[in-house]
Symmetry: C2
Subunit: 365 residues, 2 copies
Amino acid sequence: MQAAELDGLLVTSEQHVRYFTGFVSQFWASPTRPWFVVVPAKGALVAVVPEIGGPGMAATWIEDVRTWPAPVPDDDGVSLLADAIIETTGPTGCIGAELGPEMVLRMPVNDFERVRDLIKPVTVGDGTQVLRQLRGVKSVAEVAKIRHVCEIVSDAFEALLDKLRAGMNEWEASRVMRIDVLERGADSSPYMMGVAGAGGYDNIIMGPTNRVIKNGDILILDTGTTFDGYYCDFDRNYAFGAPDEDAQRAYDIVFQATEAGLAAARPGATTTDLWRAMNEVLEAGGALSNNVGRLGHGLGMQLTEWPSNKTGDDTELLPGMVLTIEPGMEFKPGQMMVHEENIIVTEDGCELLTRRAPDEMWLID
Amino acid sequence: MQAAELDGLLVTSEQHVRYFTGFVSQFWASPTRPWFVVVPAKGALVAVVPEIGGPGMAATWIEDVRTWPAPVPDDDGVSLLADAIIETTGPTGCIGAELGPEMVLRMPVNDFERVRDLIKPVTVGDGTQVLRQLRGVKSVAEVAKIRHVCEIVSDAFEALLDKLRAGMNEWEASRVMRIDVLERGADSSPYMMGVAGAGGYDNIIMGPTNRVIKNGDILILDTGTTFDGYYCDFDRNYAFGAPDEDAQRAYDIVFQATEAGLAAARPGATTTDLWRAMNEVLEAGGALSNNVGRLGHGLGMQLTEWPSNKTGDDTELLPGMVLTIEPGMEFKPGQMMVHEENIIVTEDGCELLTRRAPDEMWLID
């Protein structure tokens, strides 16, 4: 914070409130009430939260918990928050907020502007860089949770070989997987994307639908499943009946691109290097395009986190960063192949958190 | 929009993009890329979306779909969006945005401010009131989805009588219910809150935990489960072994408060009337407090929506509004009892969408 010339941070989003306080609740699903935590550069944190959350927040390590009887649209914590910020920054300081890329301020913009007026001459700066640096490198405890959910889901993907069959629709296939990961001890499965297509799928974000899976289809299942608030994010491909030569070749190229990504991931390399290593294999393999915009990303309390494996991102990899390696390509018009694994960057390379996909596509007979 | 002096609306959040376009994707779980839809007071909608979402958006009824190769933090749709707004409003108009209570602008605040600068002298106004009015009254198709998920979950709550047993922990009880609603055809269960306590639970938002449920406990399960993008939101209470007199009495009072809420819900009454009808029963029954801040709320594409059943809210009920009736009270220090049902306001009263809770607490022997 000192380097960023900030006297403190204001955080409003579920993951940042959880990161600093340990407060865990599904109640974030209700958009009605804002929650605020002020994190000073030096000194004790202040939580300004709805009355309904007061006891829960007081049960965390935070001692200074202030509440109001939310919802009160006329002053939903605004004046309490302004006071807490000024106490933290002093009369002329600067508070950093969630203002930059991939950040969403989880409070009404009108209220944010009222807070900004009330705290003047204290100013609001951009806390994005500080938050990225803090969250980008995971602790041993964080990695253990991600590793655990990666193991659960690796098991479930393998077990699915016995449960999938032609004639199911995409919803049914996704539901079988969602139920299985819960039975294996995952907490929830907010992202369970299933798309199938003849010889290859044409997208990786619009499923599942009621489309019935037929022989000759390839199905991709891609899941963000959680354990104790931490995500895995990886996919597997299933061929219904022997895949044709083009699909087999695409699978092999993307598998090799994954290998290239795994080999390139080490401290000192950048996300641009990672992208280049994978992209060279994809281009040599005849990739037509890739509308995903990147070949992997950070992973942790959110399904996708900073940074992006993308040319020009140029983020230096550090030990403890958790990333997805996610090469993909359109190998024929309207037919895609995407692989994804999760890794942690180690002192001298990287380690897989997921059980590596098979080198030949899984077959459902 | 004319009444609000707006030439169009800019929407950025999952539910508003879905409401206007029909675009459904789980990909919103990734916070990396912003999505924009401009809804003119008159004329055709414009979608400005990441390339990865272009084909999916083009498959909706929207014809004007503009994309960029997101993520591009330097200009993540900002200039495309500014152009689309100016085309919609004309050179001196006003565009309404999600700025007010219960609204979150799902884009970086820094980018919002850049858009606001780029479109000058076009101004940004508050679209909250227009969005509330549109979404507050549900269509027949919307109600059918909510009714369907209410039926699934009503069945699951009853079936749970045979599946719960002392010795399970809160997580296990919640997981059994979550799996059961999926098996019955729900799409997902983002909110599955389970909390138990001896003689009564002390909160309704901090579970589930690993606390083992014992004889003498009361367990509340409260779920926001979805079907085709629409939520139910209701709870049920289970006594493990015969509940003591205080808990039985509290159950009865809150049951009667629900009856009073159901009787008061009709067109022309307000949310304040609803609150008063329930609150009178709770106060007469000796309620110590209620930190929830209201006794129910709107329901639909979100777990909780405007309005709030609360003194001073004063929203007039209209046929087609879907609401929760949610009386609750602390009946002894640290012991709460909360009931919840879902209703639709009809021409001359209201209709239950949930199967009414039993008039005596369900008993797990």
